[in-house]
């Protein structure tokens, strides 16, 4: 098993009102929680001595444009004690703000900057929320599903005289 069954029971019991959904697809435990309580849950698990989920492996986001709550921010935690992983997800509408995780981990600084740059999710309380990967004067948020790939159609001899078409 690559997730901890006792941790599952513990979190189910302690945060029952805050959890919206739970899934164990392919041996991985995923919780979908309310956006206002995520930082408290992470802080509790960081300080908890029993399971020690105190290592932030990854902080990223997914975009589901057909849903009302299109942004889904994903936190992936790891415990050195029993080598298991735990995933938390938060769903946000467009324009909603989320509290920053830099109060707990330093690595969240650059990871949240990347999520802001590529998806447009705003983190409240972040010390330096600026673009990190795209140029500073870039407009738009590239990894959103409705931002086009900007694929240039290659020019062959039949269309070499026109400027390249972009889709």
């Amino acid at each position: 098993m690559s997730y901890n069954k006792e941790a599952e029971k513990f979190i189910d019991g302690k945060f029952k009102e805050l959890i919206r959904e739970k899934s164990t697809f392919r041996d991985e435990l995923t919780y979908i929680v309310d956006k206002d309580s995520i930082i408290d849950i992470l802080k509790f698990l960081y300080e908890d001595e029993q399971f020690e989920y105190n290592f932030l492996t990854d902080l990223t986001a997914t975009d589901w444009p057909e849903r009302d709550e299109r942004h889904e921010v994903v936190y992936l935690l790891y415990s050195f004690k029993d080598n298991t992983r735990l995933r938390f997800k938060v769903r946000l509408k467009e324009g909603e703000k989320l509290q920053t995780a830099t109060v707990i981990w330093d690595s969240a600084n650059w990871l949240e900057r990347e999520v802001y740059d590529l998806f447009g999710v705003y983190f409240e309380g972040h010390p330096d929320l600026t673009r990190i990967l795209t140029p500073d004067d870039f407009e738009g948020h590239p990894l959103r599903r409705d931002y086009s790939l900007t694929y240039e159609i290659p020019q062959f001899s039949y269309n070499k005289d026109e400027p390249p078409e972009v889709i």
Binding site: T134, L149, Y151
Partner: protein, 165 residues
């Protein structure tokens, strides 16, 4: 030594053009401009196995003001494009540019919002070397062909660099 055997009188007859071109091609100093994966193959070409110093490129200068040949090796992103242009303009004439790899020549595997589709959109290129990444032997072939091209350059008209479509 060899030169004294060939010309016992000490006089050679040649044109200034040939003399200048021969000296330019024999000691072209490359500019260390490695961007991505092709840079590793460029570094391998400079190292002991496929030695590039035997073609006169002994010294790899990190500063553009002391280099002749800029090998753009790797993908040029839109954020890096102004930097490439500025470095190119800092190089003194005569200068040559080799675009190494598929990404530098035409955008390569990546056809999206972030990569410039070919470095020849911002600077004039003399030699294109395809490959992903090109083998060191391919790079050496490209450099030897560039030397051939330099050998036939004319001295009369000024070399028009920097004026491209």
């Amino acid at each position: 030594m060899g030169l004294e055997d060939k010309i016992p009188d000490g006089i050679i007859l040649t044109t200034l053009e040939k003399m200048v071109n021969w000296s330019r091609k024999s000691s072209m100093w490359p500019f260390g401009f490695g961007l991505a994966c092709c840079a590793i193959e460029m570094m391998s070409t400079f190292m002991a196995h496929f030695d590039l110093a035997r073609f006169g490129m002994e010294v790899m200068r990190p500063s553009p003001r002391q280099a002749d040949l800029m090998i753009v090796s790797g993908r040029v992103s839109n954020k890096m494009a102004p930097v490439v242009k500025r470095l190119y303009e800092q190089m003194p004439n005569p200068k040559w540019v080799i675009s190494m790899g598929a990404c530098a020549s035409t955008g390569g595997v990546f056809n999206n919002y972030a990569i410039l589709q070919g470095v020849d959109r911002i600077i004039p290129v003399d030699m294109y070397i395809p490959g992903c990444p090109p083998r060191p032997q391919q790079l050496i072939d490209g450099i030897v062909k560039l030397h051939e091209k330099v050998k036939h350059e004319k001295l009369k008209q000024p070399v028009e660099k920097g004026k491209k479509k």
